[in-house]
Amino acid sequence: MTLTKRIIACLDVAAGRVVKGVQFVDIVDAGDPAELAHRHAMAGTDEIVLLDITATHEGRGTLIDTVKRTAKQLFIPFTVGGGIRTIEDAAAIFDAGADKVSINSAAIARPELIDEIGRRFGAQAVIVAIDVRRAKSSHDPIADAEVFVSGGRKPAGRKALEWAKEAESRGAGEILLTSMDADGTKAGFDCELTARVSEAVQIPVIASGGAGTARHFAEVLLQGKADAALAASIFHFGIANVRALKEEIAKQGVPVRLPC
């Protein structure tokens, strides 16, 4: 009996449609988040994250509807993020059927939001998402790594390690750490950054950014000390191959949920 490492599929959603990932010829409607989430769950993905990448005020109604439809037939953990600024926003997402919310820019702007959601819904329901860029000119690029907000466009004026520790002390249940340097490269997760953050806190860390091969997942879950790895480009393995991905990393020594 060992706690297994989680493979998390991320659905980037805009106006109710999944906007990233490759084509799936065998799916009736490749852009429908509810259908994709369900297929992922059946294929053995451990958890689903749905990120509203537009996160506009006007889009809230559409998002709530999407969350409701997605949650309806989903019986694995389900996180929703993007544009959650208040406890009321979070409550509406939970009411729609999400188990956790992921907060990012709003937590930087007003850190008390972490405490508030944690107190009302439990620490397990709050994920603090941190987008990080290494401080390339520093003698310790990770100790000085900076947090970015607004979809990575604006520096937050906070250092990643210190912000992760504050999020933990305020009652976050997990950290979703995205390396902006690695994101989109498919060249592997930033294992060194992930390991440093994971060692700095006692809550689980989900690694994100850079997934390209099964080896990358194994590396970040072992050397990178991540508790879970998230990818939108897990899609590039094909939904049906989540199991193959897990079998591959199991061979490399990662405890995973198999059969799944």
Binding site: T2, K72, P77, G97, F121, G122, A123, Q124, C260
Partner: protein, 196 residues
Amino acid sequence: MIAVIDYKAGNLTSVMKALDAVGADAVATSDPSVVLQADKLVLPGVGHFSATSFLEEHGLKEAIEIRVRDGFPFLGICVGLQWLFEGSTEAPGTAGLKAFSGCCERFPEGMKVPHVGWNSIEVSESRLLGGISSGDFVYFTHSYRAPVVHGTVAVTEYESPFTAAVERGNIMGVQFHPEKSGAVGLRILENFVGLS
């Protein structure tokens, strides 16, 4: 009718949805008179042990005790399982139902807490866990754990063994979230719903 007891801690949506998926007639309620009419009780719970003080303050604990004494099946989930014990170091002033001996304690320092994710269970003879095998995976998310006691029907390990499920007669509890544990979890809820 199954009464899903709402004690204003976290949200009940996931549990209601999963019960619905296995064909149960479930209502969420904070009303002791509804509890007294229900033929099964579910006490879900995500959040702090102190939230269970709501049960005593609103006459729900008494209603549960009556129903349980009369032999109606009861299922506690997560904090709902922990409440079946004597108490928890998370809220020393709040007493549990004391159906099982021992107290819930936080995972030791040096472990990642909460214990979040899919872990496997080692099961023994149980009506609730009928059809579930040792090695099956379920989803956990909790920072406090219940001791292994007489009545433990499933054990999980995280640093050391703890109770994943208890069962004695009509009183049952699971530390994990069956509503979030895929097909295995739905099977467990189906077993509960099918109890007579």
